[in-house]
């Protein structure tokens, strides 16, 4: 009796599947108010009313089993049992947005036709009620032939009836059908009869085979071969081709009928359960859209929002950042008091604290960035930004939908690249993947901030101006992404034009607890990285810069007494650094990067940054900590300004800083992104190409800036 039960959670995009999944399982998958938040399956479970395990599989939202985009294909493949890594679900939990019943029922009725035991969660009943659309639940349940349970996924206490239903031992299967004309039914049965299947003895073709046959029959001609192969259609493909020819003759409008019949039945059903909807009542969403999608006001709002976001990242964050900096300085002093001097203390102070402190300082900026992105996602503004940008994206050969992954890439390119699964056209998707890492991600923020501070030292320049420079860098990255998209689109995939079609969700008040939760998740991810990857690299780096020991480094005890000796110690330390393993590596690549204005220490930073961009900061922090007198610590940006080349000229001149900035805007320095690109494009070629073109562009642009600047007399 207590057998575990396994449900697939399906429904339209943005119907609240993941919210419901999170509420039931206690997991924290990402939710947001725009279609296409979930793009991969995710399993979870909860313990049902009888102590049994109830497993749920959250899936990407879908408009139809025909699956036009890669995310919809994930859902289709799971439902049809085409995936090797996931068993075909035994039961289905359909999530319907009660305030958009008619739209939701198209996909839901397709799913019902699969003939599996199904429960329907009529979600967002609060919104439906607010619109004055009371749904007659009994009637809907009667018509669909399966249990319908009202729910409000955002309030856990409303979910008890749904939990009880999910625990039921037996659940009805629907007998809903779109009542197709006999000619079409014959065609479908004809294909299903030939379909290779396991249960030899069944006379009536089972609902799954009929659905597969229907999908194959209705697929666009160019997709039929591939689809037949994916669904193991075997000889049924030939029958499907023959049936299409017959239908073209007997019922020329069969493609239209196939969809129209379903909608006709749905419309009647909707009228029966909620009365006729008023088509002309304009909502708040409509009036907000009149402004926010307006070609003039909309753009002003968009630029205003973006500007506010980048300025506050720079301005507001500067206060908590200085507190964190002080905290790290105090603890490094504390350790120096506590521990006897020696290699172990140096490792703690110069390696671990300097390295981690250098990066953790930037936590406030990252939190503010995620707060803004959370706001955009929760209110429903994401889809409007995509709508506005459609015109710009058209100029480079993509369309508005590509802008959502690009906007997500401001946080991190990895979720951005995953989000390209909502793009129907595979070439558009590839181009979007290729340019997504050019959008400045949160790992670049620390580098930008540090370099901007070094570019304009002291308080001579207002913080607002520095914020504007930061905005300029983001803009540069975005423009580069658009320019390369245009280049790739026109050279690799010329003459193609894809369609822009996207649902605009209603605006919602953002839920602060959701946004806070996402910020906390992000912060802990960031700190975890600092505690693992960056800690590891910091320790490794400290060894690389401290060993092999040069012969004369034993005289440090006496260094406090004499000024003269102190100077010698510093130069000895510099000497030590120069002859360390890291120094050797840095000198090795110096000839390549010298034309960009980088010295060998920056070179060490660049090598280390290949693991992750923010490591650049921790590396510089370690190098300069090891090299300098550690008795009076100063912030990294002040230390940078004191750095000189062998000629005595300062290293971090405005021109060098600019060159570093440009390099970081364009270059590809993230192994995890490359790994995800490899997985999503299913090839080695594209991540390699991406790495080469981005690194090449970064090198050339920095070279141009530095050498050009020199020619113009800057230095």
């Amino acid at each position: 009796m207590n057998r575990s039960k396994y449900y697939a959670v399906v429904g339209n995009p943005n119907s609240g599947k993941t919210t419901l999944f999170n509420a039931l399982t206690g997991l924290r998958q990402k939710v947001g108010n725009y279609p296409g938040v979930t793009v991969e399956k995710k399993a979870g479970f909860f313990i049902g009313q009888h102590g049994e395990k109830i497993e749920l599989l959250d899936l990407p939202g879908s408009y139809s089993l025909s699956a036009h985009a890669p995310d919809e294909r994930v859902t289709r493949d799971v439902l049809l049992g085409l995936r090797n890594d996931t068993p075909r679900p035994e039961r289905i939990l359909c999530v319907i947005d009660a305030s958009h019943l008619e739209r939701n029922l198209y996909f839901i009725t397709q799913v019902l036709e699969l003939g599996l035991p199904t429960i329907v969660a009529l979600n967002m009943v609060d919104l439906a009620q607010a619109q004055g659309r009371r749904v007659n639940v009994e009637k809907l349940s009667q018509e669909l032939g399966v249990p319908v349970i009202p729910s409000q996924a955002t309030r856990k206490e409303t979910l008890l009836p749904l939990k009880l239903a999910l625990s039921r031992a037996e659940i009805e299967r629907s007998s809903w059908s779109p009542q197709l004309p006999a000619t079409l039914l014959r065609a479908i049965d004809g294909i299903a009869a030939i379909w290779p299947h396991h249960e030899e003895h069944s006379l009536e073709p089972d609902p799954l085979l009929r659905m597969k046959s229907l999908l194959l029959l209705a697929a666009p001609a160019e997709d039929m071969m591939l689809l037949a192969e994916e669904m193991n259609a075997g000889k049924a493909l030939n029958i499907a081709l023959a049936q299409r020819m017959m239908l073209d003759r007997d019922l020329p409008s069969w493609r239209e009928v196939l969809v129209a019949r379903r909608y006709e039945r749905i419309t009647t059903l909707c009228q029966a359960v909620q009365g006729e909807g008023k088509m002309t009542s304009y909502s708040t969403t409509h009036y907000l859209d009149e402004i926010l999608t307006h070609p003039c006001w909309g753009w002003l709002a968009f630029l205003g929002i973006m500007g506010l976001m980048f300025l506050s990242i720079f301005v507001i964050a500067s206060y908590p950042m200085s507190w964190i900096e002080t905290l790290f300085e105090l603890s490094s002093d504390f350790i120096k008091e506590l521990m006897p001097s020696g290699d172990l203390r140096d490792l703690f102070v110069d390696g671990i604290l300097a390295g981690i402190g250098g990066v953790v300082t930037f936590l406030p900026q990252i939190l503010i960035l995620f707060f803004f992105i959370g706001l955009l996602e929760e209110t429903g503004y994401m889809a409007r930004a995509a709508f506005l940008m459609d015109r710009v994206m058209n100029k480079v050969g993509l369309h508005g939908k590509s802008f959502i992954p690009l906007l997500s890439s401001y946080a991190c390119a990895i979720p951005g690249i995953m989000a390209t699964r909502t793009i129907e056209n595979s070439n558009d998707r590839l181009v979007t993947i290729l340019v997504a890492p050019l959008m400045s991600c949160s790992a670049r923020l620390p580098v930008y901030t540090l370099m901007i501070t070094a570019l304009f030292p002291g308080n001579s320049i207002s913080i607002w101006f520095k914020g504007t420079i930061m905005m300029g860098l983001y803009l540069l990255g975005t423009l580069a992404a658009l320019a390369f998209a245009w280049l790739f689109k026109t050279t690799m995939f010329p003459g193609e034009h894809s369609i822009f079609l996207m649902e605009l969700p209603p605006y919602r008040m953002p839920s602060m607890s959701h946004i806070l939760l996402q910020m906390i998740q992000r912060a802990s991810l960031f700190l975890k990285r600092a505690g693992t990857v960056i800690l590891g690299i910091s320790i490794l780096l400290w060894f690389l810069v401290s060993f092999p020991k040069s012969s004369s480094s034993s005289s440090r005890e006496s260094s406090k007494s004499h000024f003269y000796e102190e100077v010698t110690v510093t130069s000895q330390k510099a000497d030590q650094l120069e002859h360390s393993y890291a120094g050797y590596l840095g000198h090795l690549i110096e000839p390549i990067i010298a034309p960009l204005g980088f010295d060998w220490k920056i070179g060490i930073g660049l090598i280390a940054a290949q693991a992750a961009r923010e490591v650049f900061i921790s590396t510089l922090a370690i190098i300069y900590h090891v090299q300098h007198d550690e008795e009076n610590p100063s912030s990294l940006s002040t230390t940078l300004l004191k750095e000189t080349r062998s000629t005595g000229a300062p290293v971090y001149t405005p021109l060098t800083c600019l060159s570093i900035l440009i390099f970081f805007v364009l270059s590809m320095q993230c192994m995890s992104t490359l790994a995800v690109v490899r997985r999503e494009t299913n090839s080695l070629r594209w991540p390699l190409f991406q790495f080469c073109y981005m690194s090449g562009a970064a090198y050339l642009a920095s070279l141009l800036v530095y050498q050009g600047g020199m020619l113009l007399g800057f230095h």
Partner: protein, 82 residues
């Protein structure tokens, strides 16, 4: 409600008009996508805004689409009774 018999592409309809879809153009894949999201023949749609891109109310939800796509959808307009 009196209806006008002549067909126009959706891209030339006026914002605020109540329309019914009559015919779709374009390749099989595009037509199937359009039908499945609700631009099916005989479906009633409301054109909400038309400034370059269009926003329509279809099946109770707001759908955004580009001008190019709207050219493929042929509609008949109903006079909207106020």
């Amino acid at each position: 409600m009196n209806s006008d018999v002549s067909l126009t592409p959706l891209s030339e309809a006026r914002a605020g008009s109540l329309l019914s879809v009559e015919r779709l153009e374009g390749n099989e894949a595009v037509c199937r996508r359009l039908r499945e999201v609700g631009f099916c023949e005989k479906a009633e749609i409301l054109l909400l805004s038309h400034r370059g891109q269009l926003i329509c109310q279809v099946c109770g939800t707001r759908l955004a689409l580009s001008q190019q796509l709207a050219k493929k959808i042929w509609v008949k307009s109903h006079q909207l009774s106020s």
